[in-house]
């Protein structure tokens, strides 16, 4: 009997992470509810004039998506670190950066993907013009994947720290900013009748770069964290 190949192993990791997520539906619902609630906070805090809100809707939606990604990133590896599963992953013969990619992928599936899919509802709540909705969904789809990759780096770096708590936000928020800029710019462009394509292309390019580099950084960071 031979060892499972790297891809088969990653697929198993992915499946396990998804099963774990589905076991606690709260986990899946939470980012969405957070999204919904913060969307509700904005009219409360800023004053509910529809004109202003719709003007800022793309930015607000993107900022919330970013925060909700930030909040969940922290937990990507924490559970596995605490119960020793991470040690086992490091010792497995399969290459670490591939299995790590499966973790990120699972994270994106249960946060970014879902968020992107429900975002039109919230866009409507903030009176965003329908013209921007396609761009919003697409930019969120691409952008949250980049966010998950970058967030994974932060999570891997801080997973060994007791009470790393908010440190992760300090580490990765600066890296999130380009995504925010192009993401909200794409929606703005679509709203003002311009082509969102170039911005989406840039997000796609970031995603490719992230896919190539982030798993390596995450794998290195995990080895360091487990060693510490």
């Amino acid at each position: 009997m031979t060892r499972p190949g790297a891809l088969a192993f990653s697929a198993r990791v992915l499946r396990r992470q998804l099963v774990l997520a589905v076991r606690r539906p709260v986990e899946i619902g939470n980012p969405l509810l957070f999204f919904a609630m913060v969307v509700a906070l904005f009219p409360l805090g800023l004053g509910p004039a529809p004109a202003q809100l719709s003007l800022f809707a793309p930015g607000i939606l993107w900022i919330i998506a970013l925060l909700s990604n930030l909040l969940t990133s922290d937990a990507v590896f924490r559970g596995d670190f605490e119960d020793g599963a991470l040690e086992q992953l490091l010792l497995a013969p399969q290459p670490l950066f591939l299995s790590v990619l499966a973790y990120i992928c699972a994270h994106w599936l249960v946060t970014g993907l879902l968020l992107a899919l429900v975002s039109p509802v919230f866009a409507v709540m903030l009176h965003m013009a329908p013209a921007g909705i396609a761009a919003l969904v697409l930019s969120l789809l691409l952008g949250t994947a980049v966010l998950s990759l970058v967030g994974g780096i932060g999570a891997a770096l801080t997973v060994g720290l007791r009470r790393g708590g908010m440190l992760i936000s300090l580490l990765i928020l600066p890296l999130y900013m380009p995504v925010l800029i192009f993401g909200s710019a794409a929606v703005q462009a679509a709203l003002s009748g311009l082509a969102a394509g170039p911005y989406l292309a840039i997000l796609g390019a970031m995603l490719c770069l992230g896919m190539a580099l982030a798993p390596l950084a995450i794998a290195a960071a995990l080895r360091i964290s487990v060693d510490a």
Binding site: G160, L161, L167, P174, L175, M177, P178, L209, I224, A228
Partner: protein, 249 residues
Amino acid sequence: MWSFFHKLGSPPWLYAISGSILRWLLPATLLALAVGLAWGLLFTGPEARQGNSYRIIYIHVPAAVVALAGYYVMAIAGAVNLIWKMKMADVAMKSAAPIGAALTFIALVTGAIWGKPTWGTWWVWDARITSMLILLFLYLGVLALYEAFDNKAAAGKACAVLSLVGMVNIPIIYKSVDWWYSLHQPASIKFIGQSTIDSSMLHPLLLMIAAFYALFTCCLLLNMRAELLQREARTNWVKKLAVAADSRG
């Protein structure tokens, strides 16, 4: 060549050589800073539009330039630490971070102070200013991450990974912020163009930039020396040094 690298890895040698470098570099730096300051403050005329407030340029621009360069120094030291497992690179990286953060802070604060008389506001979300703010966050991130680890060998490696990731991102951040700014074009606030700077103002500015580079080097070496001693606390050469320093009083 190789023997040089080998020596670089030897703490006593590095301690000695950095000591002899500092012996002339530190006075030279202080002198250059003093001359540059005097030149800029006393011997140049006011700028046509901004009057005397432009004199902040002699600290603002050097600090900003060196702060940015400092990040690359830090990240490259981190890469060397990760790839060749050189302990000295770890020391260098750890020592560069606080200096870079301090210089970024200077650039931000002097910029903000300069903004009040020139633009009438302490802060604008200009592309360059915003990316400088992000640079400060990157520095603080490295510092905080280092502090958060108990195991300092692991801390060094983790910070190396982080600063490398940051280095890949700095151009992206800069470009994106630039783009963002030109996209919105909120106000007609612009830096004074590079071309308008008079050569009588340019020369002291160049001197100050050189002086800040030297200052960065001095601080880096000083930090590295202190760090080296602490890491080598159990070796004989450090013990001898401690006893000698003690007997000197």
